[in-house]
Symmetry: C2
Subunit: 244 residues, 2 copies
């Protein structure tokens, strides 16, 4: 091969390597929600990009060619939290041109629900921490937008499906459950109406135990009926405008 031929080949490969359609990277970003101290929290890490010094970012990574989207999400969760049996749901893709300072990266956002107390993370370094959702201001990239979008989706989901229990321990009191709904929805609920509504759903099983670590009258403990325990909830059928 002559030098000229090599130079041509070089140019050609460079052209291919920058070929438009393969010049976009794809990542997955996980919004990992947890619940602690009566607050909805999200797991964030200090951004490693100079542009975003001192800002926090979601946990994410580029997708590998040999893994599908969910596999990539589970990998990130496993790497960062040590957990692999968690609730996970895709929300949507974010792809504005300018969202990543280092190049074109389209990201697909997932949200995940974790019981903080019973799955102590290996928080390897203090750059990775739980942050109360309500106190988060600036974030790296467009991650604040992604977080807000995922929170909105979570709010929608907890109204329709029994997914909220992924944030709670196996056994919980109705007060804890109500406080969690309040934290997610950002509203105060009336106790009597809340209990009526929950009992209508028929999701819970009375396990005939009481709280024992509270400094007041203990409440009954419940758990989610097994038939509703699914890590990945599939959408239900279409609600009918009216059945005739």
């Amino acid at each position: 091969m002559t030098e000229k031929e090599l130079r041509l080949k070089t140019a050609e490969i460079e052209k291919i390597s920058h070929l438009d359609y393969f010049n976009i990277a794809i990542s997955v970003d996980c919004v990992i929600f947890g619940y602690e101290d009566k607050e909805l929290k999200v797991l964030l890490i200090k951004s490693d990009l100079e542009e975003f010094a001192d800002l926090y970012s979601l946990l994410g990574d580029l997708i590998r060619p040999d893994e599908d989207l969910e596999t990539a999400s589970y990998r990130i969760l496993k790497e960062r939290t040590g957990l692999d049996d968690v609730y996970l749901e895709q929300v949507q893709a974010f792809g504005s041109i300018e969202r990543h300072p280092s190049g074109r990266v389209i990201t697909i956002a997932y949200y995940s629900l974790i019981d903080i107390k019973h799955h102590k993370l290996k928080l390897s370094h203090n750059e990775l921490n739980w942050h109360p959702v309500n106190e988060i201001r600036g974030m790296a990239f467009d991650h604040k937008l992604i977080l807000d979008t995922c929170l909105a989706r979570l709010q929608q989901q907890v109204m329709e499906h029994p997914v909220i229990f992924n944030l709670l321990p196996e056994k919980f009191s109705l007060r804890e459950l109500q406080e969690l709904y309040e934290a997610i929805l950002g509203v105060e609920l009336d106790r009597r109406n809340f209990r009526k509504k929950i009992s209508i759903k028929d999701w819970l099983e009375d396990i005939d135990e009481m709280e024992n670590d509270v400094p007041h009258r203990p409440g009954k403990l419940y758990k989610l009926k097994p038939e509703f325990k699914k890590k990945a909830i599939r959408k239900k059928g279409t609600p009918a405008l009216q059945s005739s």
Copy 2:
């Protein structure tokens, strides 16, 4: 530069050009819904891949590095239908490893709503046609899955937001509207209850005109109130579990 150096560079570039993370292509696929002859239809094209000879596929294309996701979707719509002022909404990404026979392609699905009658397409060739949603059997790639997912999303949306009107002409009768709901939801609705429910929503304006092309007693015509006419509907706020 010596030949050896060039050879090294060549190898390096080849490595980069096949670098895992840039070896995934990204496309957009549009599920374009229309309504005609009391049927919900979708715009499909004959697949150009040998593997999928005689199967239909959605309209899609690879995303260009200089366009964001919505731009790519609008481009596809414009190219294929000639329209650019249409309702469009992202549904979700599909990324299984085996979904595309020619390589790894992750696709982001959008659905779009079009008034067939008043936007005559340039159906350039007879490979591109409207197909009744209920009669579609096999499709190329995972496009049947994408179609079903988008239909489910549409069904969800029409229950909550005034998006259905993007499928109808400016003026329509309540019968036409009801038939469209029935076609989308796949149910029969009671006329009296349907009208009650629609009137409560307060979406419609009585324009004091009557149908004139029907072989029976003509019904009143309505149009969507201008404040609800948005091509891209943004999600409403979270429904409260209960306001206290």
